[in-house]
């Protein structure tokens, strides 16, 4: 049978493959190549070895963006997951309007990043205005603004995944523990947490990669102000490419490093998942 299907490659796989080559394979290979060259358009590239990478690391904006992104990712990943897990615990209890609450909490996740950014720009500037400062007064306002925005957007999403995990915990096991007189804390730690580990892994993965790759929200909320101090990696790369001429090589080198960092995070994540799977 396999042989028979195989002949239909042109129908079943070729269209996707062609699109994939144009939209991904060629740009990806070209991207790696160009990061070692100096160019303004693809056709006039000149090989210059590693100097784009050296330049990128000498670029203070890039280093700042890296730290800002790392700090932001850590803070938002922790806050989002803790809050989402707590909400999931509350919403798996019997309470009036449970489904309505789930619906409400999940909704912000569907709104696009640009729109979210402007919504929160209005909110945060409105609050700060009372204290006679604005989002651009200091990088810390932009930082916490982004954290709040990210929480608002992702808590509902993660909550839904946690709820699915918690609902998989067998009722009987909980009842039995209750009868044995286990406290709520013990039930949470000994029974629920181990069983929702898969959900935790997924949520960590999603929040880390979403926070690390954040662009739209960053662009709309602060656009990097003041003085590029709140520009995250993705925005810094974008600015390097498109806000000045002659830095495409440096931008591409930054982009390659960005890709390597994202890939590393994924590999580490997968490693942890696999070890956990083996253990259980």
């Amino acid at each position: 049978m396999q042989k028979m299907i195989k002949k239909y490659f042109a129908l079943f796989a070729l269209p996707t493959l062609l699109a994939f080559i144009v939209a991904f394979v060629v740009p990806f290979v070209l991207g790696i190549y160009l990061s070692f060259t100096e160019f303004t358009t693809v056709t006039d590239a000149k090989w210059i070895g590693l100097s784009n990478y050296v330049k990128a690391f000498q670029d203070q904006d890039f280093v700042n963006a890296l730290w800002f992104t790392a700090k932001f990712t850590i803070v938002s990943v922790i806050s989002i997951n803790v809050l989402a897990f707590l909400l999931a615990l509350l919403l798996t209890q019997k309470v009036l309007g449970r489904n309505v609450f789930r619906t409400v909490f999940f909704m912000p996740n569907l709104i696009g990043g640009i729109v979210l950014g402007y919504i929160w720009q209005l909110m945060i500037n409105g609050v700060l205005y009372q204290f006679e400062v604005t989002l651009t007064s200091s990088a810390k306002y932009g930082f916490w603004g982004l954290v709040i925005l990210m929480n608002w957007q992702l808590i509902g999403y993660m909550m839904v995944i946690y709820i699915a995990g918690i609902q998989n915990v067998p009722k009987e096991q909980l009842e039995a523990a209750k009868i044995d007189g286990a406290s709520n804390g013990i039930i949470l730690r000994k029974i629920i947490l181990p069983l929702v580990m898969p959900s935790i892994t997924i949520c960590l993965f999603l929040t880390i990669s979403n926070s690390f790759k954040l662009f739209d929200q960053n662009l709309a909320l602060t656009a990097g102000a003041p003085s590029k101090q709140t520009a995250m990696l993705a925005l810094d790369i974008f600015n390097t490419f498109y806000s000045k001429a002659g830095f495409e090589g440096g931008g591409q080198a930054k982009a390659v490093m960005f890709f390597v960092m994202v890939a590393l995070i994924v590999v580490v994540q997968l490693g942890i998942t696999r070890r956990r799977e083996i253990e259980s």
Partner: protein
């Protein structure tokens, strides 16, 4: 073999269905516009008049059948946009360069316009961007900026019984010290004058900083390059300068401090203010003065609840405390030069030139230029009474005829957009109190050097 044929036909059908579905349902928007001379593409620099250009394009198409695609770049993104557009399969046929610096960046794309009628229309041929024998950029608008003031509020101040200065008309305000005395006294009497502050807010949010990092920054650098020996113009001196001293930096600080400390809002809040906010404050009578150019007339006129009388709107030069500034006039110049893309087909080049010639020489085109675009056009095709009638343009013409020295638009020599943005970011931080003036000066000097070295 039979199988292969079947396979191929299926693939074709699938592809066809895909494309057909898209083009049917996507309406006429699917697919790019056809080539040939019937369509030209104008990449517009001025967002505030984008709608007028679209109207002009419609009219032109109705008259000649030539489709003019108008695309407008967002404020401060023209270079970026041009860079990405010029690489497209349908690149702009008409674009704009900002003087010699822009010409240097785009010289591979600019067509020689020496033999066009458009160039022959130019009243002062020396205004064009040239290299050797060639003419590559044609200016199309002369503009002026300064401090716009509401004379009604000024008269009210001059009539105050308890005013602390002895200035009694705007004629007497011809240097920074007088301006400062008047402004500070007005701020003290803001309530009596019925204003929130003398100056409208100094907009410093991202993308809204050009009035300071370009226009105001022009003044100290004009004076600095004016001091340089052996140059025909400040722009040429600026282009030659790999480093600057920012000698007149303190003069910049003088006026900038005056703006932010005698304003409708606290300096710490300026990071959220836009140019539109600023113009609205002026139009609503909440502020007596605002720095801007004659292009801002529409913005003032279109604010709902506008209380400023047309005859009360006047211009004052931007005084910064430089010796001899009593003779200083408005900052008058042009930063916009039309260029034709030499990489598009000959037919498109000609069609583009024809469109521009129509715009600047036909009665219909000229009416648009004068009345709707509000341009003071530097072409001899415009007669004396074909000058814009709005009060700000009239004031610019007025100042041009006075016995004053106009400040040339030296910012054409600024090394890059990044230089301006670094300047603007530093100003924001200075206004918010997170940077000292000395730090701002350092940033300006360093950024110039860094951007020049690139």
């Amino acid at each position: 073999m039979k199988m292969r044929n079947k396979m191929l036909s299926l693939l074709l059908i699938a592809a066809l269905v895909f494309v057909a579905a898209c083009s049917n349902n996507g309406g006429t928007k699917g697919g790019s516009t056809s080539g040939g001379a019937e369509s030209i593409y104008f990449l517009n620099f001025k967002p505030e008049i984008a709608e007028v250009y679209e109207q002009i394009a419609k009219d032109y198409e109705a008259e000649t059948g030539v489709k003019v695609k108008v695309v407008t770049a967002a404020a401060g993104t023209y270079e970026t946009r041009l860079k990405s557009e010029i690489a497209k399969s349908e690149p702009p046929t008409i674009f704009q360069i900002n003087g010699p610096i822009g010409y240097n960046a785009w010289k591979d794309y600019t067509l020689d316009l020496k033999d066009t009628k458009l160039y022959s229309y130019l009243s002062d041929k020396s205004l064009a961007v040239t290299e050797g024998d060639g003419v590559y950029g044609i200016p199309y608008v002369v503009e002026g900026y300064g401090i716009i003031y509401n004379n009604a509020i000024m008269e009210k101040y001059f009539a105050l019984p308890n005013k602390a200065t002895n200035v009694s008309s705007m004629e007497e305000v011809n240097n920074f010290d007088t301006l400062k005395a008047v402004v500070e006294d007005m701020q003290a009497n803001a309530e009596t004058l019925g204003i929130k502050g003398v100056f409208a807010s100094t907009s410093l949010s991202a993308g809204e900083q050009w009035r300071w990092q370009t226009h105001l920054a022009n003044l100290p650098l004009f004076y600095e390059f004016n001091d340089a020996e052996g140059y025909e113009s400040t722009v040429l001196a600026g282009l030659d300068a790999n480093e600057i001293q920012f000698t007149y930096g303190n003069n910049f600080k003088n006026i900038f401090d005056l703006y932010i400390n005698n304003s409708t809002v606290k300096p710490t809040l300026l990071g959220s203010k836009s140019v539109a906010d600023s113009m609205a404050e002026f139009a609503l009578g909440q502020a007596a003065m605002v720095q801007n150019g004659n292009w801002a007339w529409n913005e003032i006129a279109n604010v709902g609840g506008n209380v400023v009388n047309q005859e009360d709107i006047k211009f004052l030069p931007i005084y910064t405390g430089v010796a001899g500034e009593e003779k200083q006039g408005l900052a008058i110049g042009t930063e916009n030069y039309l260029a034709i893309n030499n990489k598009v087909s000959e037919a498109k080049q000609q069609a583009s030139i024809a469109f521009l010639e129509w715009l600047f020489s036909s009665d219909k085109g000229k009416a648009y230029v004068t009345n709707d675009l509000g341009f003071i056009a530097p072409f001899n095709t415009f007669t004396e009474d074909e000058k814009p009638a709005d009060p700000l343009a009239a004031e610019v013409l007025n100042w041009m005829n006075k016995d004053t020295i106009a400040i040339a638009w030296t910012f054409a020599a600024f090394p890059s957009e990044d230089f301006k943005n670094d300047f603007g970011d530093a100003l924001l931080e200075y206004a918010q109190g997170t940077k000292t003036w000395d730090e701002v000066k350092t940033i300006v000097v360093e950024s110039w050097k860094k951007e020049k070295a690139k």
